[in-house]
Each structure stands twice: as C-alpha cells, then as structure tokens.
Symmetry: C2
Subunit: 561 residues, 2 copies
C-alpha cells in the first residue's frame, strides 16, 4: 500500500443509509459496497447539511454550511466568489473533475457583474461549482408544458443512447426511465404504478453502468498528476424504475417495515403536519405505492452495488486501488412513506443521515480497516479531508468541517463538534404558501447531538425534539414537553453558538490575523503616544529629527486655481 | 425644488455625534452643518455597524452587516463577489464615485482566483469596493521601520502639496500633520503633545479644504447623468493637528466634561477592563493629553464646518442644491478619554452613534425639514435609501437595511427593527493576545434597542448591559445584575434572531422564490404521482401517448466498445 495520491469521490443520489447490507439491511445484499467498508471505515453517524439535492451538494462541494454559502434549495445559484473544493485542491496541486451530477446553478447575474464568461477556464469553473467537467449529467431530462427543466439534462447520455440505437426525442425518458407495454406504448417511469415494471433498456445501457464506465474512462486517461474525481451517479433517485434482472429481484417480503405511527401523525408539529398532508407525502403513504416503488428502489441499489463491484475490480487490476482514496456516500435519503412522508425534505435520520464509507490505501489507515466509527460527522468534513490528502495546508477560515484523517488513521475517535447541523429552506416550495410563511421565515434548522435532535423553525413555530437514545426511530416529538425544557434550552445553546460562528471572514486566515496584532505599529501607525520621549524609538524612527520650512516662507505658494 | 437626481454622500472620520452644535455641543458652533440639519432631517439615533473604520465602511458601502460581508477589521479584504452600493446604483442608472477615503482592502487572492485584474473597469471596481475612483485618499501616509502602512496613502495629496511648494519626502507628514519649532524641527502630529500646536501648512492647503475642492471639481465635471459621489474626508481622525486659525480657537473652557467614573473602572467587565488598561486608553485618560488633543479635535471640526459652508454655498450657486440629496455622517466616534478609553473600538454611544443628517430636495421632504428623528437607524440603511433615490427596485435579498425615504418624507417615524447591531472583531489586535482569546472567539456584538444595550462576547465572558433610559451616559454595567436577567434574556432573543437572519441567499430575490413554488411541475418534474389517471393532464403532457420499440429489437445495438 502507498499513500493515497488520488481521490475517487463517489456519490449516489437519494440513497438511504439503511438500504445497504453493511448498514444492516437484512434482505438487500450489497457485497461490493460491504467489501469497501471492510477495507476502510464505515461511518455510522454521517449527516448531510441539507435534505435536498442542490443545497446538500453545495455544502459538500464548498465545505461550508448552507447558512454560509446561501444556496438553500435546488436552482438557487451558488454566489460567485464562493470558494470551492476544486479551488482548494488545485491550489494544493490536485486536479478536481466531475463525472456526473452536481445540481449546480450558475450565478449568471454575479458572473456578468464580474465579467466572467462561460467557455473560459475560470468562467466554467465558477459556473460548475469549482469542477473541471469531464461529463456533467444531473441525471434528468424532464419536460412539461413550459419546456425542459434543464436544457443540459442528460444530453451526452441521450446521445450515447442514440448511438446505441435507441430512438425517440428523449430516450432518457422513453427507454432508461420508462417501461413499455405489448403495443409499444411507453409506460412512463414518472408514474409510480410503472415503477415495478422493467425499464425498456438493456441493463448495460442504463444510467448507473453508463456513468460508472465514464468514470473508468476518466481514470484511464489520467497521467501521473494526482486527481480528485467526483463520480456522481443519479440513482436510486426517481424516476424509480430499473431494467431486468434488477426489476424482478425484490418483493414485499424483502421490505423494511414502514416506520410511522398514528400518534406521530395526530400530534405532528404544524410544519411537519403540512409536509405529511402534502400531495407527495400522501402518495407515498399508500401501500400500493410502496409496493410498486420499493422493488425498483432496491433493484437500483442492487445494480449500484454490482457496478461498484465492476469498478472496484477494475481499480484493483489497474493498480489504482493502491494509490486512490475511495469515498462512497449519498446526498440525502428518501422517506418512502416513513414518518408519513415521501421524498427527503425533512430532518429524520431517514433523510439526513447518509452512508459514508472511506477507504484510505495508506499504511496509516491499516489500524482502522473494517471498523465502524460513530463519530458525529458532517458531509462538509469531506473537503478538508480531501485537502489533507492533497497535501494542502488547512483553510479553516473558509472550510467549516474538519479532516476525517485522524479517525481514518486511528488517532481520534470523535470529531470536534457537539452537534451536527442540517438546514432546510422551503422558501421556493408550495409548502411555504400552504403554511402562510414569508420567504424570509421559510427556513428550519436541525441540531443533532448523539443523544438529542432539535429542530428549530423560523416563523414563530415551536421547536421539535427527538430523544435519539430512547427513540432512535424518532417517533415521539418532545418539542412541547415541559419536562424537556432544559434539554431544549441546551440544544438551542448549541444551535445559537453555531449561528454565531465566524463564517464570512474568509479573506484572512487564523495565522494572518494572529500576525496582524501590532503590525501596523511597525508601519508608522502611532496611536496614543503622548511625546517623543514616551515613544518606542524604533517605531517612530521616521518621525524624529525631521526638518521643514515654515509654510509662510514657501516661495512657490500661489493662489489656488 | 425638484426630485433628488444626484446624491452627495459626505462622510467624516472619527467625528463624534455630540461635537456639533445641532447635536447639542454648547461651545463648538457648527452653523453650516446646522443649516443642513435645518433643511433636512437630523437623525438622533443612528448607529454604525462596527466601531473601526474599515469594517464600518464595508458595511456602509455594501449595505450589509459585518457578519454578512466578513471584513471585520481594517485591512481584512472584502471578499470578491460581495455586491456593493456601486453595483446596485449603476444597475439603476446612477454612477457611483469616490473622492477620498474608503479603507477598502482588495481581495487579491480572490481576484486572482477569478482572473480579475486591476486596471480593468471591473477589476478596479472590485478592488475599490464598487466605486469608480476620482481620487482615493485614505488620509494617511504613516511610515515605520517596516515601511509605509499603505503605499497608496495620500499620494495625490502629497503631489498637490509639492506643487504648492511644500518640500520633503512626505509633506503630508511634515506640513499637513506636523508643527514646527523655531529651529525648523518638525514636531510630528503623531505625538499628542504636539496636537495643540498649529500645523505647519496654509489652512487652504490642509486636507479638509483640499478634498472639499476635489469634490466640487468632480461635481463640476458631471453632465446630465445622475451621480452619487462619496466625499469621504479623513478629519477629525488622527493625527490630531490643525492649522491656524483653528489651532487657537478652543481651550479647556470649551470642552465637554469627561464622562467616566471610578466605579465604572473598578467594576469593569474583563474585556472592557483590558481595553481600559491598554496603552492607548491609558494615554487618553491623562488630562494633559485631553488638554492637547481636544483643541485640535474641535478645531478640525470647526474647519470642517467652515468647509461645508463653502461647499453648500457653491451647491446653491450652481443649482445642485435643487437636485442633489446631501447626506452627512461619520464612520464612528472617538472616546477621547470617556469611559477610560481612547480611540473608538467599543460599544458606548460615544463611538457607535454617529451624526447623520439627510437633506432631500424633493417636495415630498418639505414636511420634515428641520425635524429630528429618533428612529433606530443603522448606517446600512443608506444603501437602500440611495438605491430608492436612483429609482432602482429594492434588493432586499442583498441589502440588509431599509430605505430612510419614508422617514424623510414623513410617512413613517420608526424603522422596521427592534434593535440596532454593531460588531467588533478584535482578532487582529494585540488585545486578543492580552486576553488570551482565540482568533475565532475574538468577537463581540452589540444589540441596542431604544431602552437597552446588550453586549455579547464570544469566548465565555458574561454579557454587558446598559439601561439607556435611566443611564444614558452608560456608566453602570448591569450585565451581572440578577434583577436584569429577564432583560438580558430578551436582548439575547433579539440578538439571536438577528444571527438567524437569512443573509447569504443573495442570488434569489423574494419575488424569485415566491414564483419558484410549483414551477418545476410545469417543466416535467413529476413527483409523487401514482398513475396517469391521477395526474394533471396538462403537466404530464409530454409523458403520455408516447411510443417506443422494445430494447431487445433495437437493430443498432452492438457490444460496448
């Protein structure tokens, strides 16, 4: 084994932490991902910073909380000038490439203000969240009466499908994400009652194998220079549909039981209740929906695991397993009817806790191989970890997480934090109008210690509280329990300490600031010195012994024009 | 009178609110500034956002709190990409020019990352805090054993002085800011025992008249296009020294009595005590220092007032008084021995409250001419005020203050806030090391309502509290008073609500976010729809009635290369 020289940063989208066998799923066997876990450290308490793709990813790719970078929802552009993982890594001599999804929206107005143009190296990096792009594919090409959601969606993948003979104007939809009936009618994967049908595509042409191959292609083309490559795969994100053989692998006997209680529904906090009673949540609470969706969701994960097997075997064969750190994670989970919700936009561990496995080939990591860490990890810890692997000096005044290397190398077991933070900004969603909340107040915040999880809502709502030790399934909200007032106050103290952190002083490092103290005195700024006699002679050397003529004598004085 | 078309934004440096006769000084008569107050509104409770030049100004020039823009001390660069007053005004069709001081430090590293270069229009604006520069002069050219504090300091002014016949390598120091003895020895204005001697310069060549003339020159050169010009004068900031006739105008009989008590000193909070016992504070508590400095400080203000008279008369003559809003303010005050402090770096009104006078020529403002407003105003209210004058749409998602036009036009008497905020970051000062506080914790925050002022310190210190109604001179710190625990808790609630504000989501406006709700559905993102039968036919128009061939039949399928 050698020191990690490269970083393969694999992210899945909407992959629940508990749908892998190494995390305890009893029926969904994922031996290849489990193999990675046996070679590295599996983190059991890794939180994302927002339960929605775009905001979660912007935190991961900047190493900063949503509250710090501001891109709080999908398609809220990341402000121009916000430093990224790519900026830090390149400065340390490591390239940073994208193969797959980011959900980045460029700050077009900010770029215009600064004269930055797409098509230039810098303009592209700013527009692509700091990555150099090998292939950008956000994994969707939806189209409605107002047109495409994303003009750039799945363009290269659709071209690939066409090169493979798939027809129609959008084979991403018609083949990769739909089934077909005997009469040739497309059964769209957008409709959940089609989820349990096989996608009308050869398995090898579907999205996960395609993008995994693109990742291997990228690696194959690298020379000796160290690289970080973000292999970012869309599945098991919806549309929930998978080709054979995965479409037929799983049935209700393989499901994890749904996690919800009537009491939970009846007593729900008003914001939680509004989510539960929204159209998406109501759909996912129907048994027929779970029965149709779960086999596809599980099949997609099984396919992912097989593709990881292909990838890891190839890395072994090519020698890259010896010099490449491999990180495998997800951007958030999926409620799938648990807690009376669908999708991911709330704070239960179901959505906010993600699988995180890190394999470090370096000998320093030998002591921890195959271990499980219950350290309180945040996804923003990845950027400082990668920077440390690249050999860059820490940039603690910009990056808000902490390197995981001490845990990977067995020199620490805990992270230097009391709580993990996750934020949800619902200002751009219909939920805001349903609740009658202002754009400014449509925000909520989770602070989770190992023992407690507090959820704070702006807009005058009471908080929610879960006892993670005695109620790990988070079914009993103690947010209005008088007996828990002290716990709530303690968790608010943590949350407010976090709000008060120094997150925007990004132009001066700790070392810069430490060195500033008194420096101005050596450059002649002489404050509070009564007389030459009281002055430090060295500091005022330029102010003593000088001569001048009286202004009245100055010959050249003339009327001001 | 016509509507304001232009904005003349005058700022003095280190001018205390109570050293003008319109604000109540009994001996320092400032009839010209008082005249402006009689033509406009005089704000009696205007707070700056940081008690230090650079940070205060960065807030004023961005319209955002220090906690939002991050430039917390002098020479902490304003991060690249932070939008400025100039950006907003130019978008609204008004130019934005600088004549004088900003204390801006360019984010050289950030500019390099984005490929922005000085010498280009955009690069200059980014480096100059959004201003187009007519003349930048931060008003100082200090020099010590390590060289100049600022290579660009007073360069044009020194050239002017040389053109007027003043000699030496630094006439800014030797003439404008020093006296002379009978033997031609320069008596440096950096030494406070020289403050009561006349500066060795013709009054007309000293800094305030010079820069005032530069401002008039700028205005003279403007055509019909609307402009905002920031006339930003260094005085009465130190070096405290003024030429005749001002040098001899004031003596101890004219001083405001010093505001401090032994009890205040003895009971002082540890951070306050560390400030009181620092070298600068100790100097300013000596009577001989006040006796030397105050005549110069007052003389500088008297000179300022006379120059404002020249300027206002000229504006009348040229017709600009009819179409130009005039704003006169300061970036912070000066303790001058009050509260056992020198300089300005703490939170008493002495430093954090500033004079603010706004004259609006428009007829809508007739009803308020000569009135005094006790609304709780922050300096960050100026940017939205100016944007409103320029006719631009509000940018509430970026600017954190509120337009003062409703008060100027008599349609409101209060501002929409409960507390004014001021922040002080002492991480780059010797005080931090003296207190043994980390760079991260070397920050403190003021929240002031009309009744109470809370000061919160990071680093584990107790808060301070002043009762502004019963103790307007802020001599009794109630921060450890058990009877005031409820008040302290209430003020902390205000402070924490402020910390939780949404300050970084600057790439989407409220209107954008309101319009986002549900928009993705019209672009084909179809979530939580069980079947075609349950779908809104309009939204899924692109997913129904489609045809495809079974993948097994696709003739062009071939092995993957």
């Amino acid at each position: 084994m050698a020191k990690a020289r490269n970083i393969l940063f694999i992210m899945f989208d909407q992959l629940r932490w508990d749908y892998l066998s190494c995390y305890g799923h009893p029926h969904l066997h994922t031996p290849n991902i489990d193999r990675l876990a046996s070679m590295g450290v599996r983190f059991d308490r890794a939180y994302i910073q927002a339960p929605i793709c775009g905001a979660s990813r912007m935190s991961t790719y900047t190493g900063r909380y949503v509250n710090s970078h501001g891109a709080g929802w999908n398609n809220v552009p990341l402000r121009v000038g916000e430093p990224t993982l790519g900026d830090h890594l390149r400065k340390a001599g490591m390239s940073c490439w994208l193969v797959g999804k980011t959900h980045m929206a460029a700050d077009v107005e900010g770029m215009e203000r600064l004269g930055l143009k797409r098509g230039t190296t810098i303009g592209e990096r700013v527009a692509e969240c700091g990555f150099d792009v090998y292939e950008r594919d956000d994994g969707m090409r939806p189209e409605g009466p107002d047109g495409f959601y994303d003009e750039g969606g799945a363009v290269a993948y659709n071209a690939y499908l066409r090169s493979r003979g798939y027809g129609g104007d959008n084979p991403w939809h018609d083949h990769a994400n739909s089934a077909i009936d005997a009469d040739g009618n497309v059964l769209s994967g957008w409709f959940l009652n089609n989820s349990n049908k096989p996608a009308n595509i050869a398995e090898e042409d579907s999205e996960t194998p395609y993008m995994t191959r693109r990742g291997m292609e990228f690696i194959e083309r690298q020379g000796d220079a160290p690289w970080c490559m973000h292999l970012s795969l869309i599945k098991p994100h919806w549309p929930y549909i998978v080709p054979e053989p995965y479409a037929s692998m799983f049935g209700p006997q393989d499901f994890l039981p749904v996690v919800r209680t009537q009491e939970e529904f009846d007593a729900a906090h008003p914001v939680f209740k509004a989510m539960m009673t929204g159209p998406v949540a109501r759909t996912f609470c129907r048994d027929e929906v779970r029965n149709a969706v779960l086999p596809a969701y599980m099949g997609l994960i099984k396919q992912i695991d097989d593709q990881m097997g292909v990838l890891f075997d190839w890395l072994e064969r090519t020698g890259r397993m010896q010099d490449t750190m491999i990180v495998l994670t997800s951007d958030h989970g999926d409620f799938l009817g648990d807690h009376w919700l669908g999708e991911k936009q709330f704070f239960h561990d179901t959505s906010t806790k993600v699988p995180l496995i890190i394999y470090d080939p370096s000998p320093e990591a030998d002591a921890t191989r195959g271990t499980v860490s219950d350290a309180l990890v945040e996804q923003i810890d990845l950027a400082p970890t990668f920077l440390a692997v690249a050999g860059g000096a820490p940039v603690d005044h910009v990056l808000e997480g902490h390197s995981l290397l001490p845990i990977l190398h067995g020199t620490a077991t805990e992270m230097p934090r009391e709580v993990a933070i996750c934020e949800y900004d619902y200002s751009g969603t219909p939920l805001r109008a349903r609740l009658g909340v202002s754009v400014e107040d449509a925000r909520c915040f989770m602070a989770a210690s190992k023992a407690w999880k507090l959820i704070h809502f702006e807009g005058g709502f009471r908080p929610m509280l879960f006892d993670l030790v005695n109620d790990p399934r988070e079914l009993v909200d103690l947010g209005d329990s008088p007996e828990h007032a002290d716990i709530i106050a303690m968790m608010y103290d943590h949350l407010h300490a976090w709000f008060r952190r120094c997150d925007q002083r990004i132009t001066k490092s700790r070392e810069d600031l430490e060195a500033m103290g008194g420096r101005i005195g050596r450059r002649g700024v002489t404050i509070g010195v009564y007389s030459e006699a009281e002055a430090d002679p060295e500091l005022v050397v330029r102010y003593v012994g000088r001569k001048a003529r009286p202004w009245q004598d100055i010959a050249a004085r003339k009327p001001i024009a």
